[in-house]
Structure formats: structure tokens, C-alpha cells
Amino acid sequence: MIIPHPLLGPRDSQEFTYLGDAHLIERPDWQAADAQDQFHDYLYLRDNPAGVHRELWFHEQGDRSWLVVTRNTVTHEILSAELARDVARAKGRSK
């Protein structure tokens, strides 16, 4: 698989390590009343779709940036790659 890195262009997926579903960006609020339930779901439960999946890849052998890659889990086709930082900021996160 070739990942279209937003800064470095097409890179072999071998340069990356894989973390999982991009929802892992959205860490729950630890002060919420139901924080325990939220953290259980956040940490352990997955949508695990057959089809389009947004997921976190780390460019370990490259510029060490985190990417959100959109990929089809049935065909392995990669549809897009964004900097995880941009995705998080667009959701209102400060860093």
C-alpha cells in the first residue's frame, strides 16, 4: 500500500506503524459524569467497518507525523491522507 503523505508525497506503508480507528483522537472528557463508561467505549469498542475506514498511521521511519488515512478495508484502496493535527484542530482541539 502507498500512503499519499500530505507533506512528503507517496510513501510505502512499510515506513509507518498502525494504531487503529481515528476515533482514538477523540479522547473523552475525564471530568464527565459518565467518564468511566465513555472511556470503556473509547478504549475497547470499535466500529470495525467493512468498507471505508478512517485510521491513524504513524510515520515512524519518516517525519514521525501522525496521519489520518482514509482506506477501504475490503479492497485496501487508500482514498486520502491528512495530518492528524489538522483533523484534531478542525474538531476544535488546541493541539
Binding site: S13, Q14, L19, G20, D21, Y44, R46, N48, A50
Partner: protein, 416 residues
């Protein structure tokens, strides 16, 4: 029809005209007491034990393709019960005991071959960890032996003992481990279940659940609605996809694992050998092919085929462990979809929906579990209580912090 050596001889002399299909091809009935989804090893074993041990007569297995087309027909056939943790070891030993009597029990030659499973160690720390595991196994009444370098050399003189980087320091041997003809396991259970009245319905994909007031009343399928008193889901790599139709999210990711077979060679491997410095395991089939595999590819996948980096990694592992493998040609390779759970251990449990039960999260080690998983799931479906060896395999263990994490990797499925 009972299979026997005499029957084979008789058919050989009479032109093989007396063989009949090993199971029927029934049309689905409108309602069953118990519907099992998934005609893999686990689903078929569940149906078999439901009929045989729990005397249930109204049971169907629904399979979207053909039975044995999933992981049960794609794995590297290794069976063992060499686990460390108490939540696992009694269950896998129960499975091993069932393997030992299986062929007589279901009257089918599954070629259960207890040729031994040898895990190699390459450092002192690894040897300590093996000693701990070997003792844990013995505390659970399971056979285990620690070998030193010479012991390993006696069994497998062709290994790369002189490697400067990964010298072989010894190994953990489970003599009762081994291999089983995987397709025959599916066929044997299917035939045994069918003989006891279970309907095995192929080309019947479950497309949804009918859930009324929190109770599952049956399943929608490509062959129409089928009503059910209870529904048991055992669809391995498709767990996420199927349970999503009941509105559930699981502690499971689907990943692809590849396997490889070389051309047929003269007998060389004494049993199953696993490398401790890279992820590589190998055995030799009765046809002579070296059957081997390594790590999962490591990203979510439903594709049943993997990518080349892992092929390279597996072959490097093989070359490093037993350089002679470099002369063998690769015949075939393929992939299967693993239901990788968040702690590397399975789930056999009720769901919050009445009448809906789940069996999954087998990771890349569910073949060895097939008999015990079938028995335990049948126990749960028939009695409503978990089997004594499967009490830890609950959904809520993640909420309660009671993970069964053999490798201590945490909630990171691609590391288990």
C-alpha cells in the same frame, strides 16, 4: 453410514458405488429452537455438541458461503494448550482432551497428529518466561518440558544453532500439541451434526436480526426470515459486521493473517517449531509441504489477502531460523480474516439482547479451540450458564479490568 477401514475396503472392491453425501442439503424451516450463524469450525462444533451432548433436535447452522470456506479451512492447523493464564489454560486443555478423542467421537478421520509443539528461546529472559509458562501449565495439569540447546539439537539438528545474533538457547516443548487436518474438522462436525438432525444450510447469508422489545426473535437471511428461540453468532472475522446489524459495537478489530505452503518435500520436520526471535512458525503436512506463517499484516482488513511486506518478513524469519528453507519453492499463499480482540482472548457470552449469544474474538488461535469453543457455546445456548472452563470469556471483563492478556500488550489488537 458409519465410516471404517472395512467400509473403505468394501467400497474399493465394489467400484465405490456405495458412498452417499456426508450431509443433507435441506431447505430452511420457518423456525428452529436454536439458530447458529456461521458454518466454520466453531459454528459446526456448536451444533454438533448441541445435538449430541445437550440433546437439542431443532437446530440449524446458517452459512453465507460453503462450510469450511472461512478460517477453519485457511489456518495453519496447529493445536496446543500451552497458555500461561488461568482464564485460558483450563479451556485450551479441555479442547486438547476433546481433540484426543474427536475422531472416534464423530467417526471421521481428522488426522489429529500429536507430533509436538516446540517454542524456541534465544535469550536468558525468554528461557525464564518459558520456565514460568511451563510451570503454569503443569499447575493446570498439562504436559510441558523445558529443553536445553542439546535437547533441541536432538529433535531438530537442521536449525541455525550458530546464529551469532539469535543463538538457540533451548525450548518449551508440549509433546501433546500438534496438527489436525483442518477441512476434515469442519466436515466431521458437519456430518456428525447432520446425522443427529441439525440442518446445515449453505448459501444463506444472515442480513439482519429481528429484535422486538429487546428480544431476538430470529434472523433475516438471503433465503428469507428464519425464526429462532435463540441465536448464536460464531462468524469469526465477520463478527463486527454481523453484530453491527444488532446495533452492537465489539471489542474486536478484523485483521488479515497470511499462510504459506511450499512444494512437497521429504519428511524433515519432527513437529511444529516456532521461532522466538522473529514471528515464524512451521510444520510439515502429510503431503510433505512446509506449512508456515508469521505476523498478521497489522491493519484493519476484510480482504482475505495480505500485502508483500509481511511475506518478506515471514520468509526472513524462516531463513534466519532454518536456512535450508531457502531451497524450497513456495507453492501457495492466502489470507484469512481474524477477529482480533482487545486483550487477545476470546468471548463466549450472552449479549444485552435476550436470546442473542456471541462467540468470537479468536484472534489467530481459534482453530485449536474449535472443540472446546463448540462445547462451551453449546453449553451456554442450552443451559444459559457458561461452561466451567469458559467463565472468564465475558464481554464485561474490559469494563471490570479483568482482561486475559497473555502477552501484556493492552488494548492494541495488532500487537496480540
Amino acid at each position: 453410514m458409519r465410516y471404517s477401514g472395512f467400509k473403505v475396503l468394501k467400497e474399493a472392491l465394489t467400484g465405490h458405488k456405495g458412498w452417499t453425501p456426508a450431509w443433507r442439503d435441506p431447505a430452511p424451516k420457518p423456525h428452529y429452537d436454536i439458530v447458529v450463524i456461521g458454518g466454520g469450525g466453531h459454528g459446526l462444533a456448536t451444533a454438533y455438541y448441541l445435538a449430541k451432548v445437550f440433546s437439542k433436535s431443532s437446530v440449524a447452522v446458517l452459512e453465507k458461503g460453503w462450510i469450511g470456506g472461512g478460517n477453519v479451512g485457511r489456518n495453519t492447523t496447529i493445536i496446543r494448550s500451552n497458555y500461561l493464564l488461568d482464564g485460558n489454560e483450563p479451556f485450551y486443555e479441555f479442547s486438547m482432551k476433546l481433540w484426543e478423542g474427536l475422531e472416534q467421537d464423530f467417526n471421521f478421520n481428522a488426522m489429529v497428529s500429536q507430533r509436538g509443539v516446540l517454542n524456541l528461546c534465544h535469550t536468558d529472559a525468554q528461557r525464564d518466561a518459558f520456565r514460568r509458562r511451563a510451570n503454569a501449565m503443569r499447575l493446570n495439569g498439562v504436559d510441558s518440558e523445558l529443553l536445553d540447546t542439546e535437547g533441541v539439537r536432538k529433535m531438530a539438528p537442521f536449525l541455525n544453532f550458530e546464529s551469532a545474533r539469535f543463538p538457540i538457547k533451548g525450548g518449551l516443548l508440549q509433546p501433546r500439541g500438534g496438527t489436525v487436518r483442518h477441512d476434515a474438522v469442519a466436515w466431521g462436525y458437519a456430518r456428525g451434526a447432520d446425522l443427529r438432525g441439525v440442518d446445515i444450510i449453505q448459501n444463506c447469508e444472515v442480513t439482519g436480526f429481528r429484535i422486538e422489545n429487546g428480544t431476538c426473535k430470529g434472523v433475516e437471511t438471503t433465503r428469507g426470515f428464519i425464526g429462532a428461540g435463540k441465536v448464536g453468532v460464531a462468524v469469526a472475522g465477520s463478527s463486527g459486521r454481523v453484530m453491527a446489524k444488532a446495533g452492537m459495537r465489539l471489542p474486536i478489530e478484523s485483521h488479515v493473517l497470511q499462510a504459506f505452503v511450499s512444494e512437497g518435500l521429504k519428511p524433515i520436520l519432527p513437529g511444529v517449531i516456532t521461532y522466538g526471535a522473529g514471528h515464524f512458525y512451521v510444520s510439515q503436512s502429510d503431503k510433505g509441504g512446509l506449512v508456515f506463517g508469521g505476523d498478521i499484516d497489522g491493519y484493519n482488513s476484510y480482504a482475505q489477502r495480505g500485502n508483500l511486506p509481511v511475506v518478506e518478513d515471514v520468509c526472513e524469519g524462516g531463513m534466519s531460523l532454518m536456512p535450508m528453507i531457502g531451497r524450497a519453492r513456495l507453492l501457495r499463499m492466502w489470507g484469512g480474516i481474524m477477529d482480533m480482540s482487545m486483550d487477545g482472548s476470546p468471548i463466549i457470552d450472552k449479549t444485552d439482547i435476550d436470546g442473542l449469544y456471541f462467540n468470537g474474538g479468536w484472534c489467530y488461535g481459534g482453530f485449536k479451540a474449535t472443540p472446546a469453543s463448540g462445547w462451551a457455546f453449546a453449553h451456554l445456548l442450552a443451559t444459559g450458564t457458561p461452561h466451567e472452563t469458559a467463565t472468564a470469556y465475558r464481554f464485561d471483563r474490559f469494563r471490570k479490568g479483568l482482561m486475559i492478556d497473555e502477552k501484556g500488550m493492552g488494548a492494541q489488537p495488532n500487537l496480540h
